[in-house]
């Protein structure tokens, strides 16, 4: 597959080896919607999916004479995110107007933060290099701003449709240092960041729903060079893998330009996921003149030290800490730990089961196995799952105590998933409780042996392979309720006697 360089300015993914001579430098700007009930500057609901323009009011419609009043919870969530990203939180920060014209920007300016943001100087640890060195991506800043509405271009033939429900929803913008050196690192950054923000419980962080959006800045420089090359901005990526592919494509394009002795133009590129290519956005090159100035309708945001300290103290357990704790407290291996800490809810569920049941490994296996399979099949999240952790723990107790067989347990579990009933109830109802009482088992064994004297004799004389046959008969006689493990033991003991 040859690179089709230059045609319509598009570069296809999968190009020449010229990229080896260059290093990719990536910075990411991530916009995250904060999960508040109301908007940043007015009491309109932030509910997703409402009829167009139904969540609007004089303020977010920018009617003449309206004023913004900031949502306290948005400040709290933004601060929590900044602390989780190890930033320095500035007790005084200032809002600013970013002025530009667009139909989904009602005021003709966005209220954001410019030179006095909420937080600066943090870091996100995204894993280790092959050699085991930790990779930390610097966080330049975290600042608060409001979202714009939505422009829909293909609903009506001759017009663009504007829906301002999203206008005014509170966002944080997380800007990274240009510390990433590959598309894979960018992907790791995004996955780690999303997980962290989930654990912090500040956002739904769903790219599909638009509560997490990514813009990338990417440049190329000859390997060994320390100065940064000219960067371009890449937009319109709808998934993490889309980000990775877009970065590869743009990097390849820039390398092509540099290899030919050209210079990279500073511009905005749009990712076309369907075609797998980047192309220039049809707007003038160079940066827009946003004429930032401090927002005169909002005094400086002043955070009390005690308030910030409380947020810090009440921070939920973060992924890294939880991974360490699971490994230590539950003696789980790395794979299990990664799986069980993938989302905060799964980890909480697992712990609920493990703490009650006691056997962490069994709990882990069930959560990673049966529970996850059930969630996938039902298309639900763990928060809508009908099997409570205590009940799964109880089921595992029954297995451990021999009251149900492993296969019976799976059947019981399937029913619990549908009904939410307790395991003992289901087991009794379905007749799946095993008989573990030795006396009862002995009785059935006696019956089987007396009904099959020839086989009984041969078994007693050493034909061990008849054990399975005899156990099977005991199982039939007990209508499946005998604990096969115990039957085997008793039968073997008889033979030995």
């Amino acid at each position: 597959m040859s690179a089709t360089a230059g045609r319509s300015g598009a570069e296809r993914a999968g190009g020449a080896v010229v990229t080896d001579a260059y290093e990719m430098v990536v910075g990411l700007e991530v916009h995250v919607q904060l999960k508040t009930r109301t908007k940043a500057f007015c009491n309109c609901s932030t509910d997703f999916g409402a009829p167009p323009n139904s969540n609007t009011c004089p303020v977010c419609l920018a009617l003449p004479g309206t004023l913004p009043v900031l949502n306290a919870r948005a400040v709290e969530l933004a601060t929590r995110a900044a602390i989780g990203l190890e930033c320095e939180v500035h007790t005084t920060s200032i809002f600013a107007r970013k002025n530009y014209f667009y139909p989904d920007l009602p005021k003709g300016y966005q209220i954001s933060q410019f030179d006095r943001p909420l937080a600066t100087g943090g870091c996100l640890r995204i894993g280790t290099t092959a050699a085991g060195a930790p990779i930390a991506v610097g966080i330049t800043r975290v600042h608060m701003e409001e979202d714009a509405g939505k422009s829909i271009h293909d609903r009506f033939a001759e017009a663009t449709a504007i829906d301002l429900n999203r206008s005014g929803v509170p966002l944080i913008e997380i800007v990274s240092e240009p510390d990433m050196r590959s598309a894979a690192e960018a992907g790791a950054y995004l996955r780690t960041l999303k997980q962290l923000l989930e654990y912090l419980d500040v956002s739904d962080v769903s790219m599909e729903e638009g509560s997490l959006r990514v813009d990338a800045n990417v440049s190329a420089r000859p390997r060994g060079e320390t100065k940064l090359g000219t960067k371009t901005e890449v937009k319109n990526m709808n998934s993490f893998s889309g980000v990775e592919r877009a970065l590869e494509a743009e990097f390849r394009r820039q390398c092509g330009v540099l290899a030919r002795g050209g210079t990279v133009e500073q511009q905005t590129m749009l990712w076309d996921g369907a075609r797998g290519e980047v192309r220039p956005a049809r707007s003038k090159e160079g940066s827009h003149d946003y004429r930032y100035f401090p927002e005169p309708d909002l005094p400086p945001l002043v955070l009390k030290d005690e308030w910030v300290a409380r947020i810090r103290k009440e921070l939920p357990e973060l992924p890294a800490a939880r991974r360490e704790r699971f490994a230590a407290d539950y003696a789980l291996g790395e794979y299990d730990v990664q799986e069980l800490t993938a989302s905060p809810a799964i980890g909480e569920y697992f712990e609920g089961v493990a703490r009650q049941h006691g056997d962490a490994k069994a709990a882990a296996n069930w959560v990673m196995g049966e529970v996850r399979a059930a969630l996938n099949a039902g298309g639900v999240g763990i928060d809508q799952f009908r099997v409570r952790p205590a009940d799964l723990a109880r089921l595992l107790d029954l297995v451990r105590d021999g009251q149900v067989s492993h296969s019976a347990a799976k059947r019981i579990f399937a029913i619990m998933v549908q009904t939410g009933d307790r395991p003992e109830q289901v087991a009794e109802r379905e007749g799946l409780l095993q008989e573990g009482d030795d006396a009862a088992l002995a009785g059935w064994i006696d019956e089987v042996l007396s009904e099959n004297p020839a086989e009984a004799l041969r078994y007693k004389n050493g034909e061990r392979k008849l054990q399975g046959f005899l156990v099977g008969l005991v199982m039939k006689k007990s209508k499946g309720r005998a604990d096969p493990k115990r039957v085997n033991q008793l039968l073997a003991a008889r033979a030995g006697a």
Binding site: G65, F101, P106, G108, R291, F293
Partner: protein, 493 residues
Amino acid sequence: MSVDFAAMSAAHLRDAVAANEVEPGAAVRGSFARSGAVGAGRDGLNAIIWADAARSTREADALAERVNQAQGSRAPHGSGRELLGVPVAVKDNIATLELPTTCGSHILEGYVSPFEATVVSRLRRAGAVVVGKTNMDEFAMGSSTEHSAYGPTHNPLDPTRVPGGSSGGSAAAVAAGVVRIALGSETGGSVRQPAAFCGVVGVKPTYGRVSRYGLVAFASSLDQVGVFGASVDDAALAMEVLAGLDPLDATSADVPVAPYRATAHESVEGLVVGRPKEYFPESLPPRMRERCDRALAALEAQGAVVREVSLPHTDLAIPVYYIVAPAEASSNLARFDGVRYGLRVQGDGLRGMYEATRSAGFGPEVTRRILLGTYVLSAGYYDAYYKKAQEVRGLLAGDFAAVFGSGVDVLFTPTTPTPAFRIGAVSDPYEMYLNDIFTATANLVGVPAMSVPVGRIDGLPVGGQLMAPHFREDVMFRAAYALERALGEEAHR
């Protein structure tokens, strides 16, 4: 028996209504009658540009219910009777639910706000009745009310002259006796200057004293709703009703509202009145100087002490004002784009619509100021202009802090250099801006200020300006009451 409502203070009127001596709708009817008689509407003085007599009268009559709950004539704050039956006019940049809010602009022609300004809600809660929206310079940008899309307003004392601006319509409505109380807005002197030109009282409160929610923004860090009164007492009463914290305005102040009318008969013995020399320059016309010094003498006769002081950075106020205000305005007026409300003019695509709408909708002064404001905020110029101007503002604030900190209770200056000029006489933009020379500092620094009539020059009113420290409207009113009392009829000669 016909009552001359124009001669009855708002407090007396509401007392009479509350005591059932006067029908609640009587003064409102009187207001419309007076408006007709003096031609305050669009075919005359053009002070009141939108009105609905039937609706206002119905609203007034419905106040009868509140009268029945009234016990005696005292109307404490929040009683719903502070302005019972009192007709008021409202500047057309303040949002009202039934009458249009056009800001004197073509771009909002026919726009009726679907929400009400906090100040209007407070007036109505106090029993006042809005009898009309008043004319203004477009988007409050002007000092003469000649820049309205709905024609100029004429000064009732001399219809060939301007009433001042930008709140010229409200000033004229009070001067013509149509209402005793009218709302205006202040950004650089837009209440005080027309008050001086029309011979009425005009008050700009401390920045943050009165809610801006519902006041269409011109320059957000300077804007305040202001009040015109036929007398100091009318203005003080209105201020008591309007002032106070509003959770819908993050710049409104959580400071208790003093009972301003309680200062009505307080002595000014020992009150230190500062006379800043920069406001009495060589170039000040002699008769203006004389009227102001006469006013100061009147205060001295009451026991006040006049002291020469200096506000050294005064001459920087106009350059600072004409950078900060247009800059903020250029941003505040970006929302007038034809998308969600107001005028829309088709053009070539979206960009064409924006440009066609805004060029058709904005007048030349607004266009000029948006350009100026956009320029001083633009890349490469922000530091030299906007940022610098904001820093100089700090110097101006320092002047006031120093003077007030040295034992001066209030300042007294002329409100304007001259009385009202003729319509069409001033065409150079910068010359028009100089009208704000004595008033703009108070907006830039945020201190309360008011204009009180102090005499006439060739039959035209002139005003004297009082300024007090932040949130000390009480001291300012005390001095104003005393001055009004001391001058008596001289204030109108």
